[in-house]
Amino acid sequence: MIANEAELRALMTAGLNGDAAAHRALLDRLSRHLRAYYKNKLARIGRSADEAEDLVQDTLMAIHTRRHTYDPGELFTPWAHAIARYKLIDHLRHTKASMTDVPIEDAADFEAQDDHAGAESALDLNRLLARLPEKMRRAIRHVKIDGLSVAETAARCGMSESAVKVSVHRGLKAMAAAIAQGRTT
């Protein structure tokens, strides 16, 4: 169905097992596919391509925070495509666009890549972080941005390791929700 299905699926499976390098490679590849997909779709219905990067980031965030919904027994591309399509339709519906029907048989569009180095969205990471409760914000800063280990962060914040993990997890979910909300208001 799609040339790099096997490759993406292998990266996804490794990422689910905790392989950070594979997860990074997966998100990086997906971001190119998503960028091409959204630019193409938005252009086709006469919308500005500026919105594309917001959608790319919203979708990457959703793919990351909901990656446990991927069933390794199933194909990966349709899973990722379903999320991309859902985010696009949600975006169009909530920005009061003329609801053009987004055809469902277009997983092949996903093959296209758009390599736009340093692409930037209108979202502000610091502002997103500022909206989180103190505990989550510190956990995400240390673990996800500064790259400290969970153990180091736990020692520094005076929290247990599992509390750090939970804070990171919940914080990312809250950020994903804020991105999805902010995109449409």
Partner: protein
């Protein structure tokens, strides 16, 4: 925010993912909802007083079998719909099986009964109570299921997912109500149990797009 920075952030210190979590949590949500419905029905309505009679017990079993069948089908389909693209891999007609079975049985029992009995068999004594109780008892299970789906799942067809959440909630609610209900006829079960459960399903479909967005 640069997309590269976001990717950096997301792929720093990646934790392994628990893959059974979604299925387990949905199962737990339905079970909790069933427990809640049972308690609600027992506290507000109470168990029917004639349970020692074999006829009553048989009909209770039948009502429970029908509702449990509905819950089982709804839960199975809901677990599929909870994953992105799941709507393309589900057959919603499966959910109709318990309904088809009860309608068939109801039709047979009407066919073998004199037509003068039909009205009593269909309308029963407590149709209004049934019509009101099942949707009300379904509210708590529906909330528990919707909360779990919102938190953990990633449905891409929100109306359909909402519908099956409503169907599951209606089913567990009917299981609770069955403990109290004394209307023992197949057409009554088909019409009033089936009908109110479908009502819950329609309500779920209407609420889904609003409640399940992610």
């Amino acid at each position: 925010m640069k997309t590269d920075d976001l990717i950096n952030m997301l792929s720093t210190n990646v934790e392994p993912v628990d893959r059974g979590q979604l299925r387990r949590s949905l199962g737990l949500a339905v079970a909790l909802g069933a427990g809640g419905a049972l308690v609600a029905a027992l506290l507000t309505l109470g168990v029917r007083p004639d349970l020692h009679e074999p006829g009553a017990l048989a009909f209770l079993g039948l009502k429970l079998a029908f509702s449990a069948g509905v819950v089982l089908m709804a839960s199975l389909l809901l677990t599929r719909l909870a994953r992105p693209g799941g709507e393309r891999r589900t057959r919603p007609v499966l959910a109709l099986l318990p309904f088809a079975a009860i309608v068939l049985l109801a039709g047979l029992s009407l066919a073998y009964a004199p037509s003068t009995h039909w009205e009593a068999m269909i309308v029963g004594d407590m149709w209004l109570e049934c019509l009101v109780s099942i949707p009300i008892i379904a509210i708590v299970p529906f909330a528990v299921i919707v909360w779990t789906v919102r938190r953990l799942a990633a449905p891409t067809d929100l109306a359909r997912t909402g519908a099956f959440a409503g169907l599951a909630a209606g089913g567990v609610s009917a299981m609770g109500y069955a403990l109290h209900c004394m209307d023992d006829s197949l057409p009554f079960i088909a019409l009033w149990y089936g009908g109110t459960i479908i009502l819950c399903t329609v309500a779920g479909a209407l609420l889904g797009p609003r409640l399940l967005r992610w």
